[in-house]
Amino acid sequence: MNLSTVLSLAAVLFKSYFRASRPGYRSPFSNPRVVILVDVVLFTASFGLISYLLPSLPSDLTILLQPVVAQAIVGLPVILTSAVILAGILFELGQTSGLASSEAVNWLPVTPQEYVIGSSVSVCFAYSLFPALAFGLTIPLALRFGMSSVIPFFVLISLLSFLWGAVIVETLRAVMNRISTSVYKRSGRFGVVLRLALLVTLLVAVQIAFNPYILYAVLSSIVSGINLAWFVPMVWPSVVVLSLLLSDNTRAAVFVLLSAVFTFLILESAAWLRVRYWSPMAVTISVSTSTVYTPKERSFLWLDSVSFSLASKELKSLSRRKDMARFLAIPIMLVIVTILPIITSGEDSQTALSGVSLLLLSEASIILPIMLSSVSIGQEGRSITNIYMLPISAEELIKGKLFHAWIISGVAVFGIAVLMQILAPVSPLQFLVTLVAIAFIVVTEGYIGLGAGSRHPDFTIGPRARYVTFTGFIIAFALGLAVTATTLLPLILYFTGFFTILIGGSISILLTIMSTIVVGMALLILARSYCKRGVEKFLSNMEV
């Protein structure tokens, strides 16, 4: 194995890994030296902050903190491994198929072992902020609670765990490449649906896993269950740290040895899997075994045949492109992130849920339609040429592009509204006004998103692609926020009792409904005009 090959490969892969994500493009952070500097700054800042805060903590809190610090130090190696694996998987999911392979390496004189180590080191570099921050937070705590003798071993074994995560990502890449290819090839349309369901489930699972409540529970269980799970290689570094804390040096030495053997084994396995599976196969996925062309032409609701055809294409894009699956996971994640802490907090959840009900609905009715509509132009990538070359009018494009945004957002927001009505009921009339308001918001936000997305599209297709520029994103959300606040104003005035004081209780709900409709219609007309002008300007000149 040639070390200089490994290091230069790691540097190249790191740069391509970093620059492949849009925010890092042309950024100084794609330079490994800058990343090291940032890590050092982050470590020093977090170390300094904790060291500064520790002496001012009350003594009773300090006593409570000691077992938590021990848990953190023991659990950190496993958490670092998991964090890299999760980040690596999410990166892979964000990639389009066109970027999924690194074929060039296959015809260069690089051994599989050199590639695997180089690639793993580059992944470690990409996520080096994790250990920098983790060490900056835990080392001063370990020093404060008399665990200083363990620190050098703890740091080294944690870095080894971090590397394991990167090597496991490398293994998973090869396996995922083969599995997705095989599943796709054999199961056709069913495979498409299955993959979408798996992607959405995985994204939601990641969100749950990083919920603070869940994280704390996991951390506690790692430490308490470590002796039971000693046979799982992933926890061996944690066993080493635990053994050192308990001054059981023999046990620590055994598990260090086992960890070294495991490192060798996973490196060899990853190299073997790369040789065996990595070379990308030409994937031919048949959605039907028929070789007969059966033309289809449909219209639906307000969609003529051209708009329907566009809408159908958008839905296929969402369901067949793995980089688009995250947009379908948003409503589920949104509900979980908001509701889970309340339900798991053990407090009076119905009161708490009533408090967040309108907030959650407003969040969903802003985020979903704006996300889906603002990215609908940029996600076309270079294929946007098709839209330009075809005789498609601005009106047809708007209808076709907004259909999926409205339907998905509408169904999701309505589902959330019904869920919240079950968990924290309000009167039927209040529920009706809420539905009217969010219906207006969803439609209007769709127009705003497409208006901003057509003015500020980002056609870069790659990992973590945004499909709308940062400026477009800010404009869309600022306008979206203003629209939501204005549309909900009558409802807020009703809930705060303003209308009741003004005109009496019996007709205040009617005033709320009427004013919601008037405000909603006015904003909808303005947003539609904003959207139409943006799309017309966009269609007049291609700037890809």
């Binding site: 198929s97 996925i285 959605v287 039907s288 000149n541």
Partner: protein, 254 residues
């Protein structure tokens, strides 16, 4: 006026003038070759004819339809193959061609007939229900060509359409173009393969740095270059001032 007309068209990207005061006419039934070194403005010219890129100045007219003011109407008359086949790779050819056919308002019966005959000719029928992400460049190019011909256009804008095609498909596409010009279709065609241009084009325009260097039939170009009896390659290299290729290769010390 019939055919493809460009009058005094100029397009700049920032300070770079991509096309400068270009006037060009492609008559119905004519295959007009657009040649030039990389970056000479060929693709930009084609995109402007398609109404994809807006010129800064000038007029573009396609069979009577003003591209700048009536772009949707103009696009109905023209078929386009871009320099790279930017297809929707998550769709199957069947789904993609349905989308294209619907956009051109081709009725279902005609669409079935056209797709069947074109895919049969280009040997793509068996791939009709496969997702295109697994296709080779040539296969994608065949689908792009099929899409451009689906609606029986009056004009064809073909930016290096034979890239990646196998010899049989090249021959078929050449024959299709000859037949279409016989029916009055105007074809604006760019290629870097000068033998193909020489064999296919009725007229040739050589562009460099956004302007026309020379224009005319093969005979007229040879006369302009002062090289009677020469090949288009020699004529092209002479006119574009890049005939010193031997010296460059010698300097490489290979």
């Amino acid at each position: 006026m019939d055919g493809i007309n460009l009058e005094s068209v100029t397009k700049s990207f920032g300070s770079k003038v991509a096309v400068r005061d270009l006037t060009l006419y492609v008559a119905p039934g004519e295959i007009h070759g657009l040649l030039g070194p990389n970056g000479s403005g060929k693709s930009t010219t084609m995109k402007m004819v398609m109404g994809i890129v807006k010129p800064d100045r000038g007029q573009i007219n396609l069979f009577g339809a003003d591209v700048l003011h009536r772009p949707v109407e103009a696009k109905r008359l023209v078929g386009y193959v871009p320099e790279l086949p930017y297809l929707y790779e998550y769709l199957t050819p069947s789904e993609y061609l349905d989308f294209i056919g619907t956009a051109y308002h081709i009725d279902v019966k005609t669409r079935r007939e056209r797709v069947d005959e074109l895919l049969e000719a280009l040997q793509m029928r068996e791939h009709i229900n496969e997702v295109m992400s697994g296709f080779s460049q040539g296969m994608k190019q065949k689908i792009a060509i099929t899409a451009s011909l689906l609606h029986r256009p009056k004009a064809l804008i073909l930016d290096e359409p034979l890239n990646g095609l196998d010899p049989r498909s090249v021959r078929i596409v050449k024959d299709i173009l000859q037949r279409l010009t016989g029916e009055g279709v105007a074809v604006l065609f760019s290629t870097h393969v000068l033998e193909i241009a020489e064999a296919m084009c009725h007229k040739i325009t050589i562009m460099s740095e956004g302007t026309i260097l020379a224009e005319g039939t093969m005979q007229e170009l040879r006369s302009k270059a002062g090289m009677p009896g020469s090949t288009l390659e020699d004529t092209f290299l002479k006119l574009t001032g890049s005939e010193d290729t031997e010296k460059i290769v010698e300097a490489l010390k290979l």
